[in-house]
Amino acid sequence: MKKTKLIDLFFSFLKIGAFTFGGGYAMMPIMQREVVDKKGWASDEDILKILVISESTPGVLAVNSATFIGYKIRGFWGSFFATLGVVIPSFVIISLLSFFILEFKQNEIVAHAFSGIRAGVAMLIFNAVFKLSKKMRKNWFTYLIVAFAFLTMLLTNLSPILLLFIGALAGIVYGAVETRKKEVQHA
């Protein structure tokens, strides 16, 4: 099989980066079409694998996917150029926009629009809560943690990172107790 050129890899991911809005999950169908259907670089299983891995690793889904597929095709340099490709459209577009945004906002109509947008963004984030909670187990333990994280973040200056550690630790203890209970029941 002919070696895939790094430049092809770069441009494919450049295209993926340039044509997805919202990033992450919105990107997956476009990535699948380009990388699986069109180029045959990866299989549907690979795409699924990336999603599963991304569920249990931190970071940016778009970068996870580019790195994973890039590596599969051409090793380290493959992941390097795929990641570069997926990032560059964002970087260029936002750099250019940021030159204009402050002046743009001086305009009265634009200022009104942004006043409205700030209300919309709050609701956008509320909707993200619904989406995120779909993947969460629902019982007294998890609800207690939701309430704890919510109140702590709202009322104190503690770092979210600390709260994530506390949550992970609580989860490990909870999981261990649950496993033990099951073992006792089976014995």
């Binding site: 992941s79 997926v86 936002i94 409205g116 995120l132 943690i145 994280a149 989860g171």
Partner: protein
């Protein structure tokens, strides 16, 4: 140079401690960026709206914005590098050595507790932004607010946009942003 390294480190942390992608990133970003005095809350919210309505990964858009605002082009390069570095390194290791560690019970159990923390954190940002829109002088940490500056137009927009987004699946984030911009122009411009 020290400023650039600080920006890099800030976004490295943000990349490393984001579980659940995109919006799960906002609480930590808000604390580091707004709390750290790099960008004001209003501008931060505007960045979120623009990042959502321009192409590309949300995290990279946000990083580029904040970097540009704080330190120009070089700043943007460092923040972007910072936010993608954890993903890049972790996935490279997994691609090279496999994902056995992820299948351990400890990791699975940790996520039982991690996910609700993320939900609580994101919920708190949503609540904070909604209250701030309604009562612009609201301060949760000091529990101070001034009920005389009640922004009913903001409340109306939030109600309409939220209601529609729950009723219709077609109400994508971009459409929500454009609708709230339109409502903003009408309500704040003519009433």
């Amino acid at each position: 140079m020290l400023d650039l390294l600080r920006l890099f480190w800030m976004f490295f942390k943000i990349g490393l401690f984001t579980f659940g992608g995109g919006y799960a990133m906002i609480p930590l970003m808000q604390q580091e960026i707004v709390g750290g005095g790099y960008v004001e809350l209003e501008l931060f919210i505007d960045f979120i709206a623009i990042s959502e309505s321009t192409p590309g990964p949300f995290a990279v858009n946000m990083a580029t914005f904040v970097g540009m605002e704080a330190y120009g082009f070089l700043g943007a390069a460092f923040t972007t590098l910072g936010v993608i570095m954890p993903s890049f390194v972790i996935i490279l290791l997994i691609a090279a050595f496999g994902a056995k560690a992820l299948e351990s019970n400890i990791v699975k159990h940790a996520f039982i507790g991690l996910k609700p923390v993320v939900v609580g954190l994101v919920l708190s940002v949503a609540a904070m932004l909604a209250f701030r829109k309604m009562l612009p002088l609201f301060d949760f940490k000091a529990l101070v607010f001034d009920a005389t500056v009640f922004d009913w137009k903001g409340v109306l927009i939030m109600g309409i946009v939220f209601g529609l987004s729950r009723l219709s699946k077609k109400m994508t984030p971009i459409k929500m942003i454009f609708l709230s911009a339109l409502l903003g122009i009408v309500l704040y411009g003519f009433f």
